[in-house]
Amino acid sequence: MDRNQSRWQVALMRQSLFDQGYLDEQFIQLEELQDDANPNFVEEIVTLHYRDSSRLISNIEQNLERNPLDFDKLDNIMHQFKGSSSSIGGKKVKAECTLFRDYCRAENGEGCMKTFQQLKKEYAALRKKLEAYFQLAKQAGPTETACRSK
């Protein structure tokens, strides 16, 4: 595939992530932080996030099996997960985190469990999209870093 076509594909894919609500403004902030000294910064941050996420999701799962549920603890863990998701701009995941925390505060166990299932789906979907995006971006070769009019 010709170079320009590849880059066009990457740009389209990137735009769709925003249009479909997977990513928000924070992702652009990450792109703006990427430079020659840190050429893979965005991917580095996303990878760090995956590492944190695995641990936090596992933690929540364990805590959702307890009886009775410790809503404070669940809220606490979810706060961390929300923070981590926010730092990569994971818009849909972040929304599920907020919902989960609302259910914690309302001490609604069923609500928590349902939301958590949805959260995991969103997280998996985002992860899949981002992996495909980074893969394609690598194949297309280096492009100009994101910039926006000031």
Binding site: N38, F41, I45, D52, H79, Q80, G83, S87
Partner: protein, 136 residues
């Protein structure tokens, strides 16, 4: 989470003039009674960033570097406090997360305020006003 005791120090030397010399240069053209406020980022500002979330910490580190700050990162509040005690006068400002496992951010704020009289900027993903007002 495994205790991560990494303290990384990065100092960015740039061609930019330092904060103090900018101030000096600007004041020569201003009246002696006017307060001179530099209109650029204070390059070389010595920042200590404290956050248990490694992802956030890395982002803040990079943001600080982009501002040409002299940034040190720390993932544990207790380690950060010891660092501040050992290196008194080596930092200009502390950026701290509110929710940390080993020490509450407000606790750190209290210690730093009492012992070192350094400005501390609190950060949180928690948008509730009540959380912010606690810092008062």
């Amino acid at each position: 989470m495994a205790a991560l005791q990494t303290i990384t120090q990065s100092s960015v030397s740039t061609g930019a003039t330092s904060y103090n010399s900018c101030k000096g240069a600007a004041s020569t053209s201003a009246s002696a009674f006017e307060k001179v406020v530099p209109d650029q980022f204070p390059a070389g500002l010595r920042v200590l960033v404290v956050d248990d979330d490694i992802t956030t910490l890395r982002v803040l580190e990079q943001m600080s570097r982009k501002c040409h700050y002299d940034v040190t990162t720390c993932s544990e509040a207790t380690v950060a406090l010891n660092l501040l005690r050992e290196r008194k006068g080596c930092f200009d400002v502390v950026l701290s997360d509110v929710h940390m496992p080993d020490m509450d951010g407000y606790n750190l704020l209290e210690h730093v305020g009492l012992e070192m009289d350094l400005p501390v900027i609190m950060m949180s993903a928690d948008g509730r006003t009540s959380a912010v007002m606690r810092g008062d």
